[in-house]
């Protein structure tokens, strides 16, 4: 069931929690609502479920207006952040709850309820816990039971509020994968809320980035990372290295740092945003880029070596970060305190106060002269 959200405005007193939200969430896909706390993502999810009502706007399920429909009649599965399992019921009774409260005419027989609860427990691989009470389960188990309970009604829409927020990293990763598989198998439409960008990028088919009650960008995880629409999305999604300065004659300057831009831009203030993978490190400046940095820390994080850099003779609000491969690292053997030069390959340029970037590339320019690049020759 596809979900359409039209012109939703939501106020809490005089505070406007959501500003004119228009979204279309495609049938059978997982959509992640991503944003910092207070961005209105949970409120939006609750409005979709019918747990909150919006002052303006409408919600449509597969072309059917459900705006005025009570949460009881919307037939969506909702998984709460803190699971909301009923403490005084066993796991099996928890899962059976939705079936037991159906009107008499639609309610399946006792044997069938038992059968379905058994299947659901099997689906979440927790059949052996049927007679336990929620207080006897671990966080990950509780979350899976909460999912099974929400799935008992066979809803066509599953909504999850920070589903993995309270779990530790490993369990979270396993559950994410498990949910993805479950979704691919059963093909329900799913919307989940998260403030964890990694989670959003890994689990979703489509990510909705929100801030201050507004939708910032809607895109597939890949496009979202590669081409953010705004400074906010840049900052919020992954590490970004920023150089701000003044432009004259196509050259961005700040202190001892300067960078020649590959395309003509107007004079004035400007900022260039660089993803860690869009920057190389060299032992000498290039003709275009003179960005001296000092190595502050080196950490091995899985498949790459992450190097934190402190600007030398210029300023940046946050330390720069560049990832290099283990091969490069071994060939180059950088030490803490070494000074080297950052060289951008691709960057995203914001002129003045503009909020949409222009992507610049230095790759197809003349190779810089007299540079001893530490990057492996395969590049």
């Amino acid at each position: 069931m596809g979900i359409d959200i039209n012109g939703i405005n939501k106020f809490f007193g005089s505070f406007q929690a959501l500003h004119d939200i228009n979204l279309s969430l495609p049938d059978g896909q997982i959509t992640g609502l991503l944003g910092p706390s207070g961005s209105g993502k949970t409120t939006l999810l609750r409005i979709i479920a019918g747990l909150e009502t919006a002052e303006q706007g409408s919600i449509w399920f597969q072309g059917r207006d459900v705006t005025r429909l009570h949460v009881r009649d919307r037939r969506v599965g909702f998984v709460f952040q803190h699971y909301a399992l009923f403490r005084h019921m066993t796991v099996a009774r928890n899962i059976a709850f939705g079936l037991e409260v159906l009107p008499r005419k639609q309610r399946p027989g006792k044997a069938e309820i038992k059968q379905r609860v058994g299947n659901l427990l099997e689906m979440v691989q927790l059949s052996h816990l049927a007679d336990r009470y929620p207080s006897q389960l671990s966080g990950g188990q509780k979350q899976r039971i909460a999912l099974a309970r929400a799935m008992a009604m066979e809803p066509e829409i599953l909504l999850l509020d920070e589903p993995f927020g309270a779990l530790d990293a490993q369990v979270r990763k396993d559950l994410r994968r498990w949910l993805r598989n479950l979704h691919d198998e059963l093909n329900f439409t799913s919307v989940f809320v998260t403030h964890d960008q990694e989670e959003a990028l890994e689990l979703s088919d489509q990510v909705v980035v929100m801030s201050h009650g507004r939708v910032e960008q809607v895109n597939s995880p890949l496009d979202l990372y590669a081409s953010p629409d705004s400074r906010f999305v840049f900052d919020f999604l992954g590490q970004v290295n920023v150089l701000s300065g003044t432009i004259s004659n196509n050259r961005l300057r700040q202190g001892k740092a300067h960078l020649t831009l590959p395309e003509a831009v107007a004079n004035g203030n400007g900022q260039i945003y660089l993803r860690p993978h869009e920057v190389r490190l060299a032992q000498a400046p290039t003709a275009d880029a003179h960005l001296p940095v000092c190595i502050e820390s080196i950490s091995v994080i899985g498949a790459e070596v992450r190097i934190e850099l402190k600007p030398q003779g210029w300023l940046a609000d946050e330390v720069w970060e560049v990832g290099i491969s283990h091969g490069e690292f071994n060939a180059w053997q950088p030490q803490r305190g070494d000074v080297c030069y950052a060289v951008p390959d691709v960057g995203h340029f914001f002129l003045g106060d503009e909020d949409s970037p222009r992507t610049l590339s230095w790759l197809n320019r003349m190779p810089p002269t007299g540079v001893d690049s530490p990057r492996a020759s395969g590049m």
């Binding site: 479920a49 019918g50 747990l51 949460v71 009881r72 009649d73 919307r74 037939r75 969506v76 599965g77 909702f78 709460f80 952040q81 803190h82 909301a84 009923f86 403490r87 005084h88 709850f97 939705g98 409260v101 159906l102 009470y133 207080s135 006897q136 309970r149 929400a150 008992a152 009604m153």
Partner: protein, 291 residues
Amino acid sequence: MTQTLAAGSLPRKKVRSVTARVLPGFGLSLGISLFFISLVLLLPMTGLVMHTAGMGWDNFWFVVTDPRVVASYKVTLWTALAASVFNCFFGLLLAWVLVRYDFVGKRLLDAIMDLPFALPTAVAGITLATLFADNGLYGQMLTAIGVKVAYTPLGIVVAMAFTSVPFVVRTVQPVLEELSPEDEEAAVSMGASDFTVFRRILFPALWPAIVTGGALSFTRSLGEFGAIIFIAGNMPYVSEVTSLMIFIRLQEYDFPAASAIAAVVMAVSLLLLLLINVWQGRYLKRLHGGA
């Protein structure tokens, strides 16, 4: 000799350091509590038992099974039961209103809730008697429909209910406040009706608090004296409560008999409170976990 002593004391020291408590002051605080409990609770109770023990088993049995006393047990038990059952419903309703809704004067209502505790029980009794007397404000209306409250056992129920309703309100209120709205939302999102949500989600969570409040209300009613005697009419075999029987025996300077009856009331109350505590401990363990 010193060698063995030192060697012997070493492991003991080690064990002590392992079991050392993180919170300081355990010995002191427990000591003071026990001392105080002994002083104000156990000592008078022991005196009571001693007094009773002095009179011999036959005499004791004779006193506590006196027909007039037995009649007072019956009256006290059923009126206390009626009052506490009424309080369970009414107290739950009051707690619900105080927690779930916002309205003008909510703070005031919350404060008024404790008035039955603050008011001298005799004042409560006189006030109730005046209100429910045949020519009183409520009494007139009730007489019109043929119900007589003042100077009947029904009056006892009213007095008991009045003096003990805060027990239920104050035990249910915090539990209700702490219930997470998510549980109800989860139930509703699965299609449960409001009544089903109350019956299957809210009530089981509130049940232990209601029972505790009800039991407190019941035991308090068993011993209530001041409020009752003004409204009960105190007719032997009809509307005499046990606490009044104790008072009557005291006025007759029959101290052993008074303490014998008092011992019976105390034993029943203690047993009831103990049973409730044990039951509640088990129920809550299931909810909150812990092996």
